[in-house]
């Protein structure tokens, strides 16, 4: 009896991510959701610019690489090309989604674009070597904030889930984390629901996944998880920020 297997939607190739990086977990959760919903043959993924740019080599579904920050616009085109048959998701980091691609993110949400966005927030630019991100915490030391993020000089982090939840167009927005088993299980549930919403034509879903970057944080993977719990979770509280269905039921 097989008790643990690789998801079918994840190709059997070595990932390029650093040891301890949580992208691997998140890739797996996305692939599991695709497998369980039986949508591998319909799925089209959009890879960003950043650490997960090579995601197009890892998922077994059709893949598109988008310019930096433009994934939601590219996904809009992919979805509108065949709304009944394409299941479209983007996989984006914080620099990509919340800085250079903020306009595309906000307007895809405002349009209630029927796509699924997986937003990986690790509070730093990973691929380029650890620069300050729009989500870097106050005081956080990075290559471009060597004395710690000074909020009097460069302002405050963007809380993407809270912000998008204010838009009437956004259908489902939840922040999850992948720092422990319980949170990973919950993240899986949220990601699956974000795809199910699209299948049910319920519109825009975004799952913000709070994750780590041991390499650019300069920590061991264990210490990085601890840092996430002590610093990121207080600033980025987990939870459902918008669920149009649940709101309707409540009313």
């Amino acid at each position: 009896m097989v008790v643990f297997d690789k998801p079918k939607s994840l190709l059997d190739v070595p990932l390029h991510y650093c040891p301890g990086c949580t992208h691997g977990i998140i890739h797996r959760l996305v692939a599991e959701a695709i497998d369980e919903l039986g949508i591998e043959g319909q799925a089209i993924g959009v890879a960003p610019v950043g650490c997960s740019v090579l995601a197009y080599n890892y998922f077994s579904c059709d893949m598109v690489q988008a310019a930096h920050g433009r994934a939601p616009a590219v996904a809009t085109g992919l979805k509108r090309a065949d709304p009944d048959n394409h299941i479209v998701f983007t996989y984006q980091g914080d620099g990509d989604l919340a800085s250079i691609g903020m306009a595309e993110t906000v307007h895809a949400a405002a349009r209630n674009e029927n796509i699924t966005i997986i937003f990986v927030n690790n509070a730093i630019y990973g691929m380029t070597g650890g620069q300050m991100a729009p989500t870097s915490l106050p005081g956080q030391v990075t290559q471009t904030s060597p004395y710690g993020r000074d909020t009097s000089h460069c302002g405050f982090p963007v809380k993407v889930s809270e912000m998008l939840a204010t838009l009437d167009g956004a259908g489902y927005v939840e922040r999850v984390a992948v720092n422990n088993v319980k949170n990973v299980r919950n993240a899986k549930k949220a990601i699956k629901k974000a795809f199910q919403n699209q299948i049910d034509k319920k519109g825009f879903s975004l799952i913000e996944v709070v994750s780590t970057c041991p390499t650019n944080w300069g920590m061991t993977p264990i210490n990085a998880l601890k840092w996430l719990e002590d610093n990121m979770l207080p600033y980025y509280p987990l939870g459902v920020y918008k669920d149009r269905d649940a709101q309707k039921e409540a009313e």
């Binding site: 740019v53 077994s60 059709d62 893949m63 598109v64 306009a103």
Partner: protein
Amino acid sequence: MAEKVLMKGNEAIAEAAILAGCRHYFGYPITPQTEIAAYMAKKMPKIGGCFLQAESEVAAINMVYGVAGTGKRVMTSSSSPGISLKSEGLSYMAGSDLPALVVNVQRGGPGLGGIQPSQSDYFQATKGGGHGDFKMIVLAPSSVQEMASLTVKGFDLADKYRMTSMILADGTMGQMMEPVSLEEVEVADYDKSWAVTGTKCERKHNIINSLSLVPEELEKLNFERYEKYKTIEENEVMYEEYMMDDAEICVSAFGIAARVAKNAIAMARAEGIKVGMIRPITLWPFPVKAFKAAAEKVNSFISVELSMGQMIDDIKASTEYTKPVTLCNRAGGMIPSPEQVLEAIKKANEGGNK
């Protein structure tokens, strides 16, 4: 021949695109091409198509990128400052070998410039239009009829060669009304096995991508793409020769400038001056051979442009600097008058070009 209807140039582009099978249009408001978006907004929902007003030019071209990735015909239109914003997407589309039609109804620049007609995006359109080594097929209509026919042609060439076709028009071409006949289009069946439409779990996944981290491989891709460009340069050049048989002076102009030049040529001919015109219809590929052949016969060339002189460089290069080439131009949204062009022709006739 279909019945003729009176249409604005911009509307002719929109209707021709629909006839060519385009069912997806993404755009952002900018003068002087807004009629295209307005036409699409009205028409697309009624024919099962998709018109979507994007949040920016950047988003619009990336929506185009998405639809193009699925192999369906798709377009966007804009005017000069908007095309600058789209240039990132144009480069990515070139790098990913995606077909699409992009319309630039040019206005005066640089910067925000003005809203009157211009041809000052010639360099931008023909010499790349974004970062990296790439070309776009650039088509220059000179009548409302050509706005329509070159739109159809542009879609076909884009599919045939898997690249962007650009209609390089100007504010006058977009706004002027002329009778135009719009005929049914037979859309050729090109291979789209590269498109992302879902694997249906029946094939290996397709990837639309312009990233290539191994320089040897990226170099190979560039060389292959330029082989394709060479084929296009050999097979797809279009131009019109006008009164060139006995011409001693060759005027060159495209778009609205060619219309003005034709009037000036008629006036010059009435005065006995032997002058003709080469009107490039494809600005890339440029009609190099036609100009080279003309250089064997004529004494001099005049480039009539709505810019500070951009196409003139291609004329000089094509004629290998063997004959004098002068510029007759207006810029910033102004259009040369036939009299101004006639003056330039007379000056050339008197040997002023030598």
